[in-house]
């Protein structure tokens, strides 16, 4: 955090000065480790074992927050008799189909219920097997189907995650053998300190210290926060990393309370915003799913699974209709299903890596790169360039000529002779981009806070904002098609696309766009909150979770009341979604009766005299719903959530320790080894995540793991990371003299022991080799990297900052060249943080000798097409 989010880290240091214990769990020793009380340098890819060990510690030592767990989590929920855990099936859950390498989720459901997620993914009869008659009727209404499993999952469930059709049967004593609590206890029973130490390469004392610190610091009077970044997400089990932390934090009562939570630190100024208002294939704004072919035939079938459900997703139809009205305006009427049929349908995996393979296969003809540099930033950069080289046309918008714009001229494959410039048919348009100082607009930061940045100056020359580019491209296309009678052009011609423009360059008004996002009523008045949205077409709102950002005609995101002039929550600086709430699910900061758990940790509470929730923040709960509210039978949406159920986006109002539906790889996080690992999985026969997604291709070969023949050719673990002085793929930092001077060169970090083993000299050169390619780096021999003792062997790790490429002021090989494309099955994020490699002294070969070296490694390792595709040994 000190390394990549330094200014945010000031608050950690402030907490430390006030007595907080700071624990850093990271393979790297960084600026964070240097000032932490405890640094746990575990092996890259072993975090579920570590966190699972903490869950086990909390359960076996009775350190959980019992009242919170019983009232606010699904620990008391009773599961079906036919559910089988990884303890029963040696690393698999019930429902696994080894041929399709995927799960049938039906046995993971609560007893008496057939689970179905709230939005996006829904079980069908085929998937659930032979459920009870009643459940059959329920499932028939849900979306989904065999093909639907191909679509990305976790993000499709919305901000509240998936949900179940009705509330589970509960055992508040937590003693029923099939209640979630007991299942959890059995699942993690073997994650003992000794096993954790063996998998992670740490000492049992280090583990116990962390366990004691976090349990001592959790409960009524104290809270513990977890902070993570892509070190947790970029794994074949990335979503389950976060899940393990969720289980731990829910058990300790650290969710929805000040000083608690699981906080994602995101790496780009508005990467949160580009998830909320998604430039993502599987989502529409506000985490509404993209409609799916064959399932979502019309608005009714699209919204059927959610209408009538408990929780705020029960109003999903209002959110969807308001979006359609924002996009198609007066053309969208109840009679034409509000133009629902104008939406294109997805039918499987259309994610970034799938798209790149489709470029190579020739089905993708045109590509827009809007401030992103995949030839450096994405895994297996060669695959990216092979895709770019096979397009008909490419539009690159950036500040300078990034590697993804010049691959045809100076990409690594030109040097090796694998490509020739003259052979590459891609037509490339490079359009210079405007900077943040040259345009109005909002970024959504890592805490869901929208902040407006004002335009200071005009962009230079032909540089323009993406708002300008997109608006005018749409305008030109609509002009060219204006006389078309082809029905396929109606969605374009009926689109609301009449934004006012300003100034000599005709810049569209970002404020007008934000107003459309924030929503208006039939009279054109700005809406204040998403609870005002209607399904009858009387409201328009471009992103329901952002509803209210333009309330009262005021750009709420531009509010800048100085922090020193307001409360510590600072509600009048910017605007946070939803409804300017700063801590989600903060009803959990009070006990079931609505009283603060403690004076020290009070945040929002029920004021019986005023009959409303009050406190430091806007309550994430209906303002006047009393703690003793009980839903009437048949109540729906928020009315079905009781007054003591804080998790209002969930149909059961509870935090999920066990996920009865919606995850591709299991209801409970389980330690699997990375797809490429030098060691075996001591817990289960199942070595790696059985449902991880692989994309075999001649340029994307996988390496053998764990003692399989050839695995000795790639004996070391490597991990990638960032440096304070550079930004992601380098387009905004390697071009700057200041930053290039501060971090001038690509390097690898190795321990003195590994340097001795391989003959590497400090400040000399090393070549790092995988089955994909070989790259060179300056050697930093440092005891910041330590050899680890794992499974009775010494395992070396190599650290590689990934910012470099061939262009800019500071140049070097890209670490992402080394990575395979192998993905988490829930969210389709690649495993960047743990893979295997070899390292040798000296620079890498030039020209055709480079692919020859890599081919020689592949031959020595016996790598063929199917290598690595089977997770079992």
């Amino acid at each position: 955090m000190a390394e990549c989010h330094p200014v945010g880290f000031q608050w950690v240091m402030e907490a430390k000065e006030r007595g907080a214990t700071v624990i850093h769990v990271d393979p790297r020793f960084t600026r964070t480790s240097a000032v932490s009380d405890v640094h746990v340098p575990l092996r890259a890819g072993s975090d579920i074992a570590f966190l699972g060990g903490l869950v086990n510690y909390v359960l076996t030592h009775e350190k959980f927050f019992r009242e919170y767990v019983v009232a606010y989590t699904n620990a008391p929920a009773i599961l079906r008799e036919d559910f089988a855990d990884t303890e029963d099936l040696d690393g698999l859950f019930s429902g696994y189909d080894p041929d399709g390498r995927r799960y049938d989720h039906s046995t993971w459901a609560y007893q008496g219920a057939v689970a179905a997620p709230a939005t996006g993914e829904h079980s069908t009869e085929e998937e659930v097997g032979q459920p009870e008659e009643d459940a059959h009727r329920v499932t028939r209404r849900h979306h989904g189907g065999p093909e639907h499993r191909e679509a990305a999952r976790a993000e499709a469930y919305g901000s509240g995650g998936p949900s179940v059709p009705f509330k589970p049967e509960l055992d508040p004593t937590l003693e029923h053998p099939r209640c979630v609590f007991q299942v959890l206890r059995r699942h993690y029973a073997r994650y003992t300190p000794e096993v954790v130490a063996d998998i992670c390469g740490i000492s049992t004392e280090q583990f116990r210290r962390v366990a004691e610190e976090i349990t001592r610091n959790s409960g009524r009077d104290r809270t513990t926060a977890f902070v993570y970044s892509v070190g947790w997400t970029q794994h074949t089990v990335g979503a389950q990393y976060i899940r393990t932390a969720s289980i731990l934090q829910a058990l300790l009562g650290n969710i929805g309370r000040p000083g608690g939570g699981i906080l994602a630190l995101r790496g780009h100024a508005s990467i949160q915003g580009s998830t909320d208002i998604p430039t993502l294939f599987n989502l529409l704004p506000g985490y509404l799913p993209m409609p799916h072919a064959g399932e979502h035939l019309d608005l009714d079938s699209y919204t059927a699974a959610d209408v009538g459900k408990a929780g705020f997703w029960g109003n999903m139809r209002s959110y969807a209709v308001s979006l359609l009205k924002a996009w198609w305006g007066d053309a969208a009427t109840a009679d034409n299903d509000f133009c629902f049929d104008y939406l294109p349908r997805i039918s499987g995996d259309h994610g970034h890596y799938r798209t790149v393979l489709d470029q190579i296969a020739g089905t993708v003809k045109g590509y827009f790169l809007m401030g992103e540099n995949p030839a450096v930033g994405s895994a297996n950069a060669k695959l990216q360039r092979l895709g770019l080289a096979n397009l008909d046309w490419l539009v690159v918008r950036d500040f300078s000529l990034i590697e993804s714009a010049t691959f045809w001229k100076n990409g690594p494959e030109i040097d090796t002779g694998e490509m020739r410039t003259e052979d590459i048919g891609t037509e490339v348009f490079f359009l210079p981009a405007a900077a943040h100082t040259e345009k109005d607009g909002t970024f959504t930061n890592t805490q869901r806070l929208l902040q407006w940045h004002h335009k200071a100056v005009d962009p230079p020359g032909d540089a323009r904002s993406e708002l300008w580019f997109t608006y005018h491209l749409g305008r030109i296309i609509r002009d060219k098609l204006a006389r078309s009678t082809d029905p396929r052009d109606r969605p374009l011609l009926d689109l609301t696309w009449d934004y006012p423009t300003e100034g000599a360059i005709a810049e569209p008004s970002a404020d007008a766009v934000l107003r459309e996002i924030g929503g208006v009523d039939a009279g054109g008045n700005e809406l204040a909150a998403y609870t005002q949205l209607r399904a009858d077409g009387s409201t328009r709102c471009g992103c329901w979770i952002y509803c209210g950002v333009h309330a009262d005609g005021v750009n709420q995101a531009a509010r800048r009341r100085p922090g020193r002039d307001q409360s510590w929550v600072a509600p009048e600086w910017g605007w946070a979604w939803p409804a300017n709430r700063r801590i989600l699910y903060n009803r959990a900061s009070a006990d079931p009766d609505g009283r603060p758990w403690s004076e020290r940790k009070k945040y929002v509470w029920w004021d019986a005299e005023q009959r409303k929730w009050v406190g430091a923040d806007n309550a994430d709960f209906e303002a006047s719903k009393p703690p003793d509210y009980q839903p009437e039978p048949g109540a729906r949406a928020q009315d079905a959530i009781a007054g003591a159920e804080p998790f209002i986006m969930q149909t059961d109002g509870r935090a999920w320790l066990f996920v009865p539906t919606g995850l591709a790889d299991g209801p409970l996080p389980t330690h699997y080894e990375p797809a490429e690992s030098p060691v075996d999985n001591p817990l289960y026969r199942q070595q790696a995540n059985p449902t991880r997604r692989e994309y075999p291709h001649p340029a994307n070969r996988y390496q053998p793991s764990d003692g399989a023949p050839g695995s000795e050719v790639f004996p070391y673990v490597f991990t990638t990371y960032r440096l304070t002085e550079h930004h992601t793929a380098g387009g905004m930092s390697r071009t700057l003299p200041y930053l290039s001077e501060l971090q001038p060169e690509f390097f690898c970090e190795v321990s003195p022991e590994l340097a001795a083993e391989r003959g590497l000299d400090h400040l000399g050169w090393a070549t790092i080799v995988t089955a994909r390619t070989a790259i060179e780096a300056r050697v930093l021999v440092t005891d910041r990297v330590r050899p680890l003792r794992i499974r009775g062997r010494t395992i070396h790790q190599i650290g590689l900052p990934y910012h470099w490429g061939g262009n800019g002021l500071s140049t070097g090989d890209g670490a992402n060249e080394l990575l395979p494309v192998v993905l988490d099955p829930n969210v389709y994020i690649q495993e960047s943080k743990a893979a295997t490699c070899d390292i040798r002294p000296g620079r890498r070969p030039r020209g055709p000798a480079l692919p020859r070296l890599v081919a020689d490694y592949r031959r020595r390792a016996g790598i063929t097409e199917p290598t690595g595709e089977d997770g079992t040994r």
Binding site: H5, T355, S400, D458, R488, L736
Partner: protein, 188 residues
């Protein structure tokens, strides 16, 4: 200028006779340095902004003079950053005033070996034509008997560095075009 003033103008005299015997303050000051003013005090305007690098969202104050960005400082009013910026945020003036920025449209024709220049409006028109033509030729009304109404031939990557309003217009236009392979760094 009299002799006495001339002599007292020597830094060494001021150092020996004045209150700055180590010569690190007033004694070392020349007329040029005494006339120097910080760029922040000479700005025509100060514009409230947000750092464009990571997602912490530090407040920035952008100082503008004669239509140019002359300085970017941390905004002490921000309850997030309290005036602080990291090395990248501190370098953001160089990001926006960088002479290495490309400010003209560049074009590489198929199989071409060099960049060529292209007027912006011509580039926009050509891109619009390519979008229309690619969409027309590669339109999918159905896939396996299921209605899809889309094109699988146009894809986009990027958005995490952009504004919400920009992502919104991109998603809106792409969806109306029937393009679905729309992705950004959040997937990575």
């Amino acid at each position: 200028m009299g002799v006495r003033q001339w002599i007292e103008g020597w830094p060494v005299v001021r150092q020996l006779t004045g209150a700055d015997p180590l010569g690190r303050g007033a004694a070392a000051e020349s007329r040029v340095t005494s006339a120097l003013r910080p760029r922040t005090s000479q700005a025509d305007r100060v514009v409230a902004s947000v750092c464009p690098y990571c997602a912490v969202g530090c407040g920035q104050k952008v100082y503008v003079r004669d239509g140019k960005v002359t300085q970017i400082e941390g905004d002490p009013d921000s309850p997030i950053s309290r005036g602080r910026l990291c090395p990248k945020g501190s370098a953001s003036k160089q990001l926006v005033t960088n002479p290495n920025r490309v400010t003209t449209v560049l074009y590489r024709r198929p199989h071409g070996t060099e960049w060529e220049e292209l007027p912006l409006d011509r580039a926009m028109d050509m891109i619009a034509d390519r979008v229309i033509e690619t969409r027309r030729r590669h339109w999918q009304e159905e896939d396996g008997g299921q209605r899809v109404r889309r094109t699988m031939a146009i894809a986009s990557l990027g958005g995490a560095t952009l504004d919400n309003e920009e992502n919104y217009l991109m998603k809106k236009l792409y969806t109306a075009l029937g393009a679905i392979q729309i992705e950004n760094q959040a997937r990575i």
